[in-house]
Amino acid sequence: MARIRLERVAHSYLASPRREADWALKEIDMEWADGGAYALLGPSGCGKTTLLNIVSGLLQPTSGRILFGERDVTATPPDRRNIAQVFQFPVVYDTMSVHDNLAFPLRNRGMAEAEVRARVRDIAALLDLEPVLGTRATNLSADGKQKISLGRGLARADVNVIMFDEPLTVIDPHLKWRLRSKLKELHQRIGLTMVYVTHDQTEAMTFADQVVVMHEGAVVQVGTPVELFERPRHTFVGHFIGSPGMNILPCEVRDGAARFAGRAVATANAPGAAIGRGGGRAELGVRPEFVRFAADGIPVEVTRVADAGRHRIVEARAGETPIRLLLGEGEAVPADARLGFDPRFTHLYVDGWLAGEATA
């Protein structure tokens, strides 16, 4: 069991990177606690798989160090880092039975056969694979095969961290939740550190204690799902998380307050010193969940009402700017539509970042 420390890790796939864009992973300095469940969340190409492969040892970072506990493992090969990895599509050894698949990493490390058998039985019990131990691995369904992949990782007693690279990609939608719950259950029972890469926010938010949101090779925010939802540090986070995403409204700052559509808007964070430094792009961020119809609010024109099942999504327009809000069942759209923003969850952003915070 160990905590993982990433010390100024950066990576470029090019031999001699020059520009910012040449770096697939921009400098990251982060620490992950022992036994935590982390999700690396971000769109395709944001560098999450690169980061994962660096932690597991499949990739050597261009610069920086990785430490497991006190050990510098930057140059250690994957099979000696005590990690396990589950890939996007099930990786099983087709010619072997389920039992032999699970036994494979143990036998490679020279474990005694009797011990191997005992350990395989334990893992199979944990993953509900006992009934199929004798069958050829290739005959299982996709989720069965992913369990085998997982099992091979769990089989080794010395594993500290399990990495998951979008493991539910090929699983049937109606089985995804089952595998996901299994992972959560395993985490609670065994207490290993788990790092889960995904582009699906639902998976990330339900699985992880802490979510690391990444964008274009950089870590944008690390926080609990609630923190990410209520207080995004970057407009990207606001926009990426939540469905529909956060409203981003261009605004201006005058006399120490944000102004939108000719009115002052109260925000949770003070505009602060950022504005004093001569401007920058100012924007208001507020989630549709925190926008309401208010009699004394900003006048808007309602353009569309879409039904999303348990609630409705209203698209309105203040001048040229679209704003979305949620309407519960039974609530009606007033004739003279005016919107108010909950000041506790309305934030001012400057150049994309939350105003008043040190960036990165």
Binding site: P77, P78, A84, Q88, V91, M96, F104, P105
Partner: protein, 289 residues
Amino acid sequence: MSARVVNNRAWWLVLPVVILVGFNAVIPLMTVVNYSVQETFGNNRFLFEGVKWFSDVMHSARFHDALKRQLLFTAIILAIEVPLGVAIALAMPRRGAWASACLVLMSMPLLIPWNVVGSMWNILALPDLGLLGWTLNSLGINYNYTRQPFAAWATIIAMDVWHWTSLVALLSYAGLSAIPPAYYQAAKIDGASSWAIFRYVQLPKMRRVLTIAVLLRFMDSFNIYTEPFVLTGGGPGNATTLLSIDLVKVALGQFDLGPAGAMSLIYFLIILLLSWLFYRVMTSGEEDS
């Protein structure tokens, strides 16, 4: 191949192919069948002989010898070319300029006219004038492929290995390239040795490709004519007279239409059986995907 529409008008699309191939396949075969059951007298007079030619051929020592030689030849070259081709594919670089250069150079033997392959090895193996022949003889090995059956065999085998191993290597290379990197990564994490990776990841994933390679080489070597004919002419004596060479001798050389016909049909039937095997393997793979 799911969701294919049943449409018998598709026959119109296939018709040109059927006509073209049918013309070339059916008419000659009919001729062959004709010859195989008749006795031909010079002036186009025919006498029905039933299965006489078939029984003659099946009992002839000449045919048996040619068949045995052919089977031996095919077995030897398969035993050499398949492992060698796979080993080369495993050792080749996967990407980059070297990979490209490798592929180009390896493909060259495959595009040389077969008679030139024969001539090339002819010139190479000349006992006193050729690079190979001269080298072997000056090393003290008494080598003369025109006079020694063993030397002739060794030379035609070396020639075939030179000629066709690249096919196996290229097919295997394509199969290997199709293996997703995740398998190698997982094996690395599992602490697998190189041998284990070969046995449990690479070989199983190459099963289909290897089957194609083996069957292709089996059949093409079973049909081989030009290269050994140009090199040894079937000799010394009969030593390297493989099945096709023997058949052509009988058909075009001696113009023994009856025996040629019977032999052709027997030969063809053997091949047909093997193609059926080939076809089954190919389509079984598709039903899984």
